[in-house]
Symmetry: C2
Subunit: 339 residues, 2 copies
DNA sequence: TCGCTGTGCGCAAAGCTTTTCTTTTGCAGA
DNA sequence: TCTGCAAAAGAAAAGCTTTGCGCACAGCGA
């Protein structure tokens, strides 16, 4: 207790105290701890021992004041850390944490005012870089007023092609699903997906139509069924498709919820999945995909990988090796029992 | 570009530059910007203008070096930011952000080594406080080696009662559900829940048994059905209950997934929900509760509120007004169509 | 006109670490 | 024993902001 009283304002051990205990100057102590400089091994050891005895940890504030780097990056997410941005965030944090970089979390809840505020805060804290992520794959306006702080957009790319973005390969994902279905001999494929104003839905739909056009396969119902991302829509749409095109033998769905709804309807209307009709989902949202009957074959966007690559690009940019443009990360097909 | 070259290592505008432009000393500039000190209004204005022109933001590192406070708190989560810790985290971030405090995110993935590493990092960064949260409501060992940094445990309380913890009122939540069912005239209630080694399951089960014992109501099947937190278990258990106790008129389920599974089985076996049999879930996980047929009446743990209160207690502790012990946050019943 | 009061602003130290430069110490060779 | 060099360790500055203290000057009363 007396000990704590002697301590400076931060309430923590300072290098001067370590140096004092070891009987050397602060400069020498610093060198000893950082392995730089030259000194007698026993001196270094004395400092090391003192540091351990006092449980010394260098003050990062002082360090970054000097070095100009804070070893901190800001992570701005626009969707309350939802199902999509969370895995991205985790992947990023993983890649950064390994390099001793900490993550400042900022959730804007999609509010521009909040976003502005957070950017100011991050800039004031002199973060080394910023990662921006969101809920959707639609491109977004870039952050402004960044004053040269390296920034990478993950999952949600920037509309400015001179920015760095890492996105999911939507078309590749759709290709995986459709080619798998065609390869399995399916010939009448329905595509049920989310709202047409979502880029993800549009891109996957376009590629689905293209691929089906190339193979001698029929797009069941003659058109893509846009709706919303819910199970209810999946159930409704599946019901409609079965009525208008009873010979449909496969459903490619825009996400796992739609797929699950479709699977439920198929089962309830007496069709066997996958024997009679195959179902493929998208997202590989495990709680959904595994709880579905049968468990869903689905496309995984490799979200943690997107976060990881974004973090890597950011680290490169911080080191002055920035690369602009959108890099897409391939998806993979997770095969379970529904197709 | 010439301009940037003149700048110091951090690459950002410094107070000295602002002072230079305004023709005052750095001390005066600081006072002008902080509203402290006394000076001619026009002088203050000149500084303010210069700061805006240069887009000056004080260097937080220098600031905290001086003040001993970093205006940063660490948030340690043990479960990859899952469904439970995320809302808690958001609530906390909300309460802290309003007070100009930033959040350093640390995900330990349940690994003790990682946790140790993160604690070290946070301490080195001189965070003002730490919030610890997890996936389950089972108490956990407290962090050690904190050296007096204020810490609050949210959702997952600490086993040390001298720590500060904010937890969900598990028994109150169970009471809400059971009393609602009894009040609605249900007389044979089944309780299907997760594994008995989870505190949440045990606590709710005990209270359910107690309440049922007090009212002249029967615990359907004579015992609580422990299993796991999945839909599959909900389906299986519901099937069993219906066979062994066909006169069951209500299911209280340990989470929304179990409830949904139970509701599916009930429907498929020809029972109407809620007319014949009521179902109540737990967690109010919207994707689950809303997609269920019918949408689930369920207990909401008010997770963001838990995060908010944890943040408030932490802020108090940082200001020297620490309160030890576990504070429980009440649940609320969200009434939809299943009961 | 002198001295006092008070306002306005500058000076300098504190806060902690890293790094460069300088000084001291120790040893070897002459 | 003295000189010189290398190795070891210390001194000091830089990095940026805040704040207490003190100085200078203006204005006013005597």
């Amino acid at each position: 207790m007396t000990e704590t009283d002697r301590r400076p304002t931060t309430g923590r051990v300072t290098l001067a105290e370590v140096a004092g205990m070891a009987g050397v100057s602060v400069g020498t102590a610093s060198k000893a701890l950082n392995g730089s400089g030259r000194m007698r091994p026993e001196t270094r050891q004395r400092v090391l021992d003192a540091a351990r005895r006092l449980d010394f940890q260098p003050n990062e504030a002082a360090r970054s004041l000097l070095g100009g780097r804070t070893w901190t990056v800001g992570l701005i997410t626009t969707d309350g850390i939802g199902r999509f941005s969370t895995p991205v965030l985790l992947g990023a944090e993983d890649a950064l944490g390994a390099g001793k970089i900490s993550v400042l979390l900022c959730d804007t809840r999609g509010d521009a005012i909040r976003e502005r505020h957070y950017v100011e805060t991050l800039l004031a804290r002199r973060v080394d870089g910023i990662i921006v992520t969101g809920r959707r794959t639609d491109p977004r306006e870039p952050l402004n007023g960044l004053r040269g702080v390296p920034t990478v957009y993950a999952l949600t790319p920037s509309t400015d092609s001179s920015d760095m973005s890492v996105a999911s390969d939507d078309e590749g994902g759709a290709r995986l699903a459709v080619e798998y279905l065609i390869g399995a001999g399916r010939r009448r494929i329905a595509h049920i997906t989310g709202p047409a104003h979502h880029a993800a839905a549009r891109h996957r739909a376009r590629l689905t139509e293209d691929l089906i056009g190339q193979a001698s396969v029929e797009l069941s119902g003659g058109r893509v069924h846009f709706g919303d991302w819910s199970e209810a829509w999946g159930r409704r749409a599946a019901h409609t498709v079965l009525r208008t095109a009873p010979d449909t033998d496969a459903f490619f769905c825009g996400n796992d919820q739609i797929a699950r709804g479709a699977a439920d309807t198929l089962r309830e209307e007496g069709h066997r999945v996958p024997e009679d009709i195959a179902v493929i989902g998208y997202d590989n949202w495990d709680t959904m995909a595994l709880a579905s009957r049968p468990p869903l074959t689905t496309v995984d966007m490799n979200l943690p990988e997107i976060g990881r690559i974004a973090a890597l690009r950011l680290l490169n940019a911080i080191d002055g090796r920035a690369v602009s443009g959108v890099e897409t990360v391939p998806c993979r097909l997770v095969i379970r029992d529904s197709a």
